[in-house]
């Protein structure tokens, strides 16, 4: 039952073959069986999930009209506020904090009767590419427990790959949905910036952060996308326009006559041989499906990583100023006569991990007087150039494609002490965030040299998210008929049988 796709689970719920309570319990049992090894979850809400499931079953029994994913369980990244449920962002500074309100994404999930199983592990405040920066210990990749599941949303991607949940929510600031999807053989989508509300998403870099769906199939991601997307008056950057028709696109998968642009700069040197091979193979399959493959150039993408590591830390140094030990979260050193400033200093010393401190200090520097123009100001100009590169590229192609990441999953600990090597993981995903466009990663097979999953990235223009779903669905179908079974069937069996 747990190996089904969300859409199949939903169909069985509608047909009365299973109940949401049974489905939810099956996933809770799976979590109990494998999560000691995987560590995808930081908090499991057994009682809440079963109560929500029972409520959906009752509504269904009464014949109420329900949403397409009603009764299907989901894992929620711990960066999303959920009323009364611990929300840590993988940080000690928020340990034990229970938000007094729901984020809009959570409100939308509840409105759609999607059952929330618990909160998933992540790099602290979503800063990282491996989930090793979590204050609560790393998550392990179900394909190989000694390897990283990607980051920052490694808990969500691992939960999907280990069949602990059929759906998950991620957030993507520089690749935190797409890179974890790539290295775990799952699907992850970063919608157009402003497509999904950021209200109640604990901010890292406000001009880049975007929540989105994670799943095991393109259609499942589309169903979840439509459930969480839409205009929200509580988010001033939310786009007030109809949600792109992504479910229809995922069901169609018709790419005949579509122009698919291969970004010259996001391939070649620095990309693992097996990653390149799977990418080329996917291009051939898309050509066979009727798409026209063209090459496009984006000369300024080579500066995207540098610009990102100025813009994101700058915004984070400002956003994380709210963790001041005054109104919520950890407070350290509040002894008689201690000043507020010393309490802040001590709390932030203890509460933040190494990478978060590194980025706050870097951002403080980039924004400081005398350096602002040279660093943050220049990075903003690069952002303009990257956006212009995309605009020109989209004149020649309907979507752009590249490998999602340069390599497959690396070993836990391998890059932990080399921040620059870690940052390079995001080289192909970052341009999308800089321009605020849509990006998807879906599995394109296993690398020959290590047998680990490889991701294929599809990028679509602002609010044309349906295009990446069209291409994703076409490629997924072609690969499935080539493989004969889903890629995750090749992953090691965990927790005693299927």
């Amino acid at each position: 039952m747990i190996r089904n796709n969300a859409a199949d689970m939903a169909a069985k719920l509608v047909a009365g073959e299973i109940t949401s309570v049974a489905l939810t319990q099956a996933h809770l049992d799976r979590i109990a069986a494998v999560d000691t090894d995987v560590h995808a979850f930081l908090h499991i809400d057994t009682e809440g999930a079963l109560a929500q499931a029972a409520a959906v079953d009752a509504k269904r029994a009464k014949g109420e009209k329900l949403s397409p994913l009603a009764g299907v369980p989901l894992a929620l990244k711990d960066v999303m506020a959920q009323k009364g449920i611990p929300t840590t962002c993988g940080s000690k500074i928020l340990e034990g904090w229970r938000p007094p309100y729901d984020s809009t994404v959570v409100a939308n999930l509840k409105k759609n009767d999607i059952v929330i199983l618990g909160k998933t592990n992540m790099d602290e405040f979503a800063m990282g590419s491996s989930t090793e920066n979590s204050a609560y210990g790393p998550t392990h990749n179900p394909w190989d427990l000694t390897r990283i599941p990607g980051g920052s949303g490694g808990g969500s991607s691992a939960a999907l790959a280990a069949f602990e949940a059929p759906l998950a929510i991620g957030t993507d600031t520089g690749g935190s949905i797409r890179q974890p999807a790539a290295v775990t053989g799952t699907v992850g989508v970063k919608p157009t910036y402003g497509g999904v509300s950021r209200y109640g998403l604990v901010a890292f870099s406000s001009s880049l952060d975007q929540a989105g769906p994670c799943a095991r199939t393109v259609l499942d991601a589309a169903l979840l996308h439509e459930a969480i997307a839409g205009h929200d008056p509580k988010d001033a950057t939310s786009i007030n326009a109809p949600v792109p028709q992504v479910v229809a696109a995922a069901k169609s998968g018709d790419v005949k006559g579509m122009k698919i642009g291969v970004v010259k700069e996001l391939n070649g040197d620095g990309y693992q041989a097996g990653v390149r091979a799977r990418f080329e193979e996917s291009l051939e399959l898309l050509a066979k499906a009727g798409a026209e493959i063209v090459e496009v150039s984006a000369p300024n993408f080579e500066y995207a990583l540098a610009a990102y590591y100025l813009i994101a830390p700058s915004e984070c140094s400002s956003n994380l100023a709210r963790f001041d030990a005054m109104r919520y979260g950890l407070r350290v050193g509040d002894v008689d006569g201690a000043s507020a400033e010393s309490v802040m200093n001590l709390t932030r010393e203890v509460g933040f991990g190494k990478e978060v401190k590194r980025r706050i200090i870097l951002g403080t520097y980039a924004l400081s007087s005398g350096y602002y123009d040279a660093y943050y100001g220049s990075a903003q100009k690069v952002r303009t150039l990257i956006t212009q590169d995309f605009t020109k590229a989209f004149e020649k192609a309907d979507v752009l494609v590249s490998p999602t990441c340069p390599t497959t999953a690396f070993k836990i600990g391998e890059k932990a002490n080399d921040p620059l090597a870690m940052y390079l993981n995001d080289i192909a995903t970052i341009p999308v965030n800089m321009a605020g466009i849509g990006g998807m990663s879906l599995p394109s097979g296993l690398a020959d040299e290590d047998g680990l999953p490889v991701g294929f990235q599809i990028m679509s223009p602002v609010m044309k998210d349906e295009r990446m779903y069209l291409v994703g669905a076409a490629l997924e179908a072609a690969l499935l008929s080539k493989w004969g079974a889903p890629l995750l069937d090749k992953a090691p069996i965990m927790g005693g049988g299927r």
């Binding site: 007094p100 950057t237 540098a306 005054m326 706050i360 200090i361 100001g377 220049s378 952002r383």
Partner: protein
């Protein structure tokens, strides 16, 4: 080219309100020499003729009707407070003694 001393990092940590040990300061100063060299590449293409982009969407003011709507109760707002007193956040001393 760009580099930061231990004391530079100490000043930044002070501005960012993070207490740091001497070891942390020295480590960060060393790392920043490498990181700043890498990110300084943005200056190669950031000419005077290029406009800056702060945000992917054109930002505009968003207003809501001036109507009373339900909000958090004082209990809810204070539910995460490290310390509270008389329905307020209790905070450490902010001003000096004098």
């Amino acid at each position: 080219m760009s580099s930061l001393s231990r004391d530079d990092v100490a000043k930044l940590a002070g501005l960012a309100r993070i207490e740091m040990s001497d070891e942390e300061l020295v480590n960060l100063a060393n790392e920043f020499t490498v990181i700043l060299d890498a990110v300084a590449r943005v200056q190669e293409v950031a000419g005077a003729d290029v406009e800056a982009t702060s945000h992917p969407l054109p930002l505009r003011n968003v207003f809501r009707p001036d109507a009373v709507v339900p909000s958090l109760t004082p209990e809810e707002a204070l539910s995460g407070a490290p310390a509270q007193e008389e329905q307020r956040f209790r905070v450490p001393q902010i001003l000096g003694e004098e």
